[in-house]
Symmetry: D3
Subunit: 265 residues, 6 copies
């Protein structure tokens, strides 16, 4: 691969993937709306507002593949969501269409299904149950991907990401955690597959506890290696067990289900 | 019911429902972005842009129930969709939340699943497959309804409308047609049910040919009476059979699947 | 059929079926723990406590078929349930086994699944969710029937009865009602089928509104004719709509889900 | 339609359809291995052994559509089945491919699933369970149809025929009967559909009792009108009820499941 | 956990868990109807007939959690089953309700589904198919657990136990075996889960051969470690292969399906 | 086992299994239509045309078990398929029936479902979708096995073989590969199971990538050990990635879906 674009490169997952995915391409093009520091020799840094169609079109030009981590990654007011996640998503797919349809790895989120209970086991066809405006915007992105695939053949891996951190931080993440290594190996599978299609992939490690069934994407050959269960004793010892009737114990989306609609400023 | 709001009252379905649903409430409040003619004695006419949050809040105030037909009802550029259908939908749900959560009957569309083939039989849990930006915006509205129900208990009947006309107009509508009478009787069921929840209802008559299974909403007791099959001979005699490989013969969304992305002006 | 036994013949359904099912057999043997009035010419009346194994054995002797309506038919203390419904059920199946295994039509109840919501649509394989001790005792009877079929070939039609009254009495019964005629025609199908097996049959009329799918027993050819929907206007006019969050509006079992465990005297 | 070919025109169903389907085309071409009597003015009679590839190719030439009733229609020795049903089926599909792929209505049989019990309710995806060599040959034909559709786009309606007679003849046919009228109206739907695909259709009337779910082909708009239940009283009065443990009472294929493998002469 | 109650502590599984689960609580309260030997320092021994409501209420008082192994654990006469397993189960749930609803780990049994064949693969929603009166009593207990959860929020882990022995003893146990270690680790998961709900858990080790799918309870993070397959060679060498048509080879319940109804003394 | 018959012993898989399965029986009887070289001490070599019923009957006589690899194992003209695979299969099942019904391990093929896409995940009940005449003949064999089981109790393990080679040879085989060791261990399970039934088993190794779900045959305890994923780097380095829209990348059957119907010579 010659040039791989990573959007949202200044974010939590973006900063890590900037290092981990470097080997996938000759050149990494990195974008964010904020400062990304200094470029490494094989890096191109592009400040870009995803809500600006022309800027996004220029950003995507010349790229062979895209890891789309950009946009707002938590609950926010509708005007912010509208700009970065709805308009931003449209801009990205249109830019890809104008530039030869490079394969996209799209970061969706467990908050697209956050209102399921933690004792429910979901497959890829479980109806969407977003837990807030952010979750709805992730559903929107998933559906745009599907439509661009059906209409134009644009290949996108929709990654419904669990909790991507260095290690799990609370009891809920014993189920939802995905390690950096497993995210990186997933990117490898996504970009090397002879044919990708437009699969929904649960972005989660090989945890003892889990809520999601990935068997429908066995064809990709991705086998996550890490296991949040290895951290169970540490979590039990250091993190308070959530109350049985709290959202943290009841819902896959955890505290997101309790968040209000944030007013526009 | 004291006051029923119908949005999109100047549209094709809206004009008909203005007459048919009048008996459901003491007062009909009607809104549209264009002229709606003169008010009948029990009517309140309100010109309103759904993209304007304050105007929508005022519009909803004092209403006991809402039939939401407003917004753009066909393929359009993203900026138009964004304003009327995405922002408009958010404004409506927020206005309802600020006004005691009147029950909503929401017009979604078969274009939320337009990429299914005509020989596929769908139940309510079939994954969404929108056939364009308009279809994606209808999916967005469905998901907003679901989230407002899960988070706030807002009851909404999501009507995935087929083709609502006086009679079926082509071979595809032999399956997708819903008559005005059946739409009106559905509204009656929706607003009289002791408890509604947030069901997905296929908005379709009792046609000989059909693609959709409504058995999961049998609890509402809605039994559509009309049958597009009664018009089959007339259609066969007057309308050209579509080519077997055309979108009109292949897809539930018909020609929508072939439409391009309309550029913003 | 020579002799048909109806247990619980003094109960609400029993009194009606005593007349309606008379034509099915030369002799009706009727039993109850209370007085059943005077016998008609073709009737044999037998006072019998179902908890008494010897009495039940004598009761069943010489019968070609059984309609088992006996036992306690509402929430009660566990000691009562234990005696009449658990022990009584065991006694009945043992008596049948000792007497050539006459075909049984067993009255179970919707309270075996009363904790499902009214917006859920159930097929015969939906896991049991009883709404009290009475409901659990009906599950017990269903499982005894299944076990006696698997082990001994005893044929039983398990009728999961809705609300069997002259006409529906409230909004919930618009879905759960079964008319006397439809119950009688079901008995006719059950006893005339060349081979019955051990089916679970939802005992419900052909109501506009319904929660249960009987398609798996289409092989019996039972087509209920009555429709609670014909009484909808009357119910709407004369019965208060239940509160949206009340058990009467939420659960298939209705107020049973709120009943306490009745203490033993 | 200009020319419709009916194979097996001298058989039980063929003789009836020769009259009923005449209005579908300008010319009926009729074929059988035995005598078919004299041609009507719009008929072409062709004696033809389906096992002869050249003869079948000539037979199909110039036809716009095919109703394939030919071949052996009951249990027989393997050499007979091999010639008429396996080789014959291959010859037919090859002849169609060489002649512009006219639409085919293919008579399969309930004996493709004859080993299911009569208390099982099947949809189109139920795995095949043939009840003899004849049943296996019908499965073979169904799979040839599917393969020619997937590979070459050949449209075929696979009709898994129940019992096609003037009226039902025994208790089993109360479920499996299809009337001549309903068969004819099905042919009408099959040949008029703008796009057919390659559906599996249960060939059965609108009987009170039934084992098969046709909802997946609702898109065709076929609504059978006749009901074997109208003959139930007559059957009960004139035909002996089968023994509960006999194949006639247990299996959908009835006595076919008991037939031996017929030796080749 | 301060005090853990184990009922049936003198039984086969009880004696083992008395040692293995000691570390879960400060105090083990052990009960049985027979002698349990001498108490260890952290043990409280209580002789108790589960059919005695007052005794059971006293037994449960002060306990934070319950492992319910008590009752009759094999086929028996109905009067014994009635007393120990039906009445006993009711007494236990009532005692728990009167004492703050401590979490319960309930031993059900594979005999609740013993009539399934060994070549059937079951998930948690497979309809119950008990193989005798004992099996029916285990179904009863499962349904009581479900009802107390739905009605009162009582959390219970329903463990449908396979064969819990030191090692598998015959060919059937190559599929049904659960090791002592795996049972103990399951108890650990059940009592440590922030929220348990009322799951059905197949109590079986990580055997090469298995009949049951536990993926729906992945959320608990239980990963059994032992494998009956490690004993396959030993079983093949030392235990006679069952006859292909014997219940030991055909049914999950094995020889239980052949047991008669034991008469009451 | 005294005598094990392997048909197709001169073929690719046959030559390997001749060595690997030798330990399963005292005597290996090997057959093929071509030369098989010299017999080892425990081998009986029999030249045999599977299309010759008498020869096949003699071949099977005295055998306790059969591994049926014979017949044509690739696309071919219909006359060849007819002789070796249709008639040959019938001859084999009849010969088994005449000789005490020895257990059969039948080699079917992924080409029975070759028209599924590579991003579809199939269970054993997925409807058949053969990719050519060869695939149809394998479906035929599967259905003959099922019918002989239902009618006569003949036990057959239907192995739907993926790609059985020393190691995977291209990207498609990263999913479809089965190693020789895993095939041999499967034979071991099949012939040692106390009761086999007539299962459909996907013949595939424990590959990182896979399309098929074998959980329904967990009861056999077969756990394949090899993993095509171990060869991924080598394949990536040495074999050209197929074009995304080629049959090699799209379909499970790979290039077979593009093959024409081969004419008879």
């Amino acid at each position: 691969m010659h040039r791989l674009l990573i959007t949202g490169a200044a974010g939590g997952v973006g900063r890590v993937m900037r290092r981990r995915l470097a080997s996938l391409a000759d050149i990494l093009r990195l974008s964010d709306i904020t400062d990304m520091g200094d470029p490494a020799p094989n890096e191109e840094l592009v400040r870009c507002d995803l809500g600006d169609p022309a800027a996004v079109k220029a950003l995507v030009e010349g790229c062979d593949a895209i890891v789309h981590l950009g946009g707002i990654s938590g609950e926010a007011s509708f005007s912010k969501i509208l700009h970065a996640n709805l308009l931003g998503c449209y801009n990205l797919f249109e830019a890809a269409r104008a530039n030869g349809q490079p394969r996209i790895m799209l970061a969706s989120s467990l908050h697209a299904v956050g209102f399921y209970r933690q004792d429910e086991y979901l497959d890829a066809d479980a109806p969407l149950r977003p837990d807030g405006l952010y979750g709805v915007s992730k559903c929107f992105a998933e559906l745009m991907a599907r439509m661009y695939f059906d209409k134009f053949g644009q290949e996108t891996a929709i990654i419904r990401l669990g909790s991507c951190f260095e290690h799990p931080r609370d009891h809920r993440m014993l189920s939802s955690w995905i390690s950096y290594d497993d995210f990186a190996s997933l990117a490898d599978c996504v970009f090397k597959a002879p044919r990708l299609g437009c699969p929904l992939i649960w972005g989660v490690s090989n945890n003892d506890a889990c809520w999601w069934d990935n068997s429908h994407v066995n064809y990709l050959g991705w086998r996550p290696k890490d296991n949040a269960g290895d951290y169970r004793a540490r979590i039990d010892a250091t993190v308070l067990r959530p109350e049985p009737q709290s959202s943290a114990a009841l819902y896959q989306g955890g505290p997101f289900v309790d968040k209000p609609i944030y007013p526009d400023e």
